[in-house]
């Protein structure tokens, strides 16, 4: 089964991001393919490398980055949502005159078409949110 997963909420405030992560991991463990993980709305906040969670808590962002790297998963932050929330890569920094970037490894910023394409190309779309 080929999956696209959509994540609508940021890290820590809601469990959505945790649920999506464990679901993605279980799908990979069972041999399914994750076509794309699309972060929309506040979900784009999963893609900042500037978090420093408490020592005794999970590191949600690092966990996503490692999953992407280990399984070569395409993790996309919606560009319009990222602009509203302040998630920036080099290209966005240059286009919008920002003096810093904060995107985490393994994430890329792209358009909403990536979500629609994910839904077309995949057998299932699974949405996690508030």
């Amino acid at each position: 089964m080929k999956l696209t997963i959509q994540v609508n909420e940021g890290p820590y405030q809601h469990q959505s991001s945790d649920s999506a992560y464990y679901f993605a991991k279980a799908a990979l463990d069972k041999g399914h393919e994750i076509f794309r993980i699309f972060f929309y709305h506040d979900g784009v906040n999963n893609g900042t490398r500037l978090t420093t969670p408490p020592q005794d808590d999970r590191n949600i962002v690092a966990r996503w980055s490692e999953l992407a790297q280990a399984h070569d998963i395409d993790m996309v932050l919606c560009v319009a949502a990222a602009q509203r929330r302040g998630i920036v890569d080099d290209g966005e920094a240059e286009r919008n005159g920002k003096d810093a970037t904060n995107i985490a490894p393994g994430f890329r910023i792209s358009g909403l078409g990536q979500l629609v394409e994910g839904a077309i190309q995949s057998d299932r779309l699974v949405v996690f949110g508030d």
Binding site: H41, E117, I120
Partner: protein, 136 residues
Amino acid sequence: MSGDTKKFLFINRKAPYGTIYAWESLEVVLIGAAFEQDVSLAFMDDGVYELAKGQDTTGIGMKNFSPTYSALGDYEITRIYVEKESLEERGLTLDDLQHLVWEDEDDDWAERDSIRLVSRAELGTVMAEQDVLFNF
């Protein structure tokens, strides 16, 4: 439509302005239209409020995105399902909503209503017929 076309239903269940879901859902719909899939929209629960007439956001400083719904016909979105029970519970009728239309090119561009008032059971059938459900 080709065999590769999927039936997409965008399900709108949130009121506008209190949260951004309604607006960012609409952004997906407009982008999605370019992919030439078989797209419908459904408005149920507080989602029916998105279509309310006369929205004026001046006092809250937010963008009034409600005029965009009237452009959906131009994006060849011709089926907009509105759940009857959701309207009734909220004391609304179709008259409280925007009048959304599309132009039928097979009939000399005659204007046709986009909104289809459906019961909860009918909407359940519509949902069951889809390939992909987008939830907002």
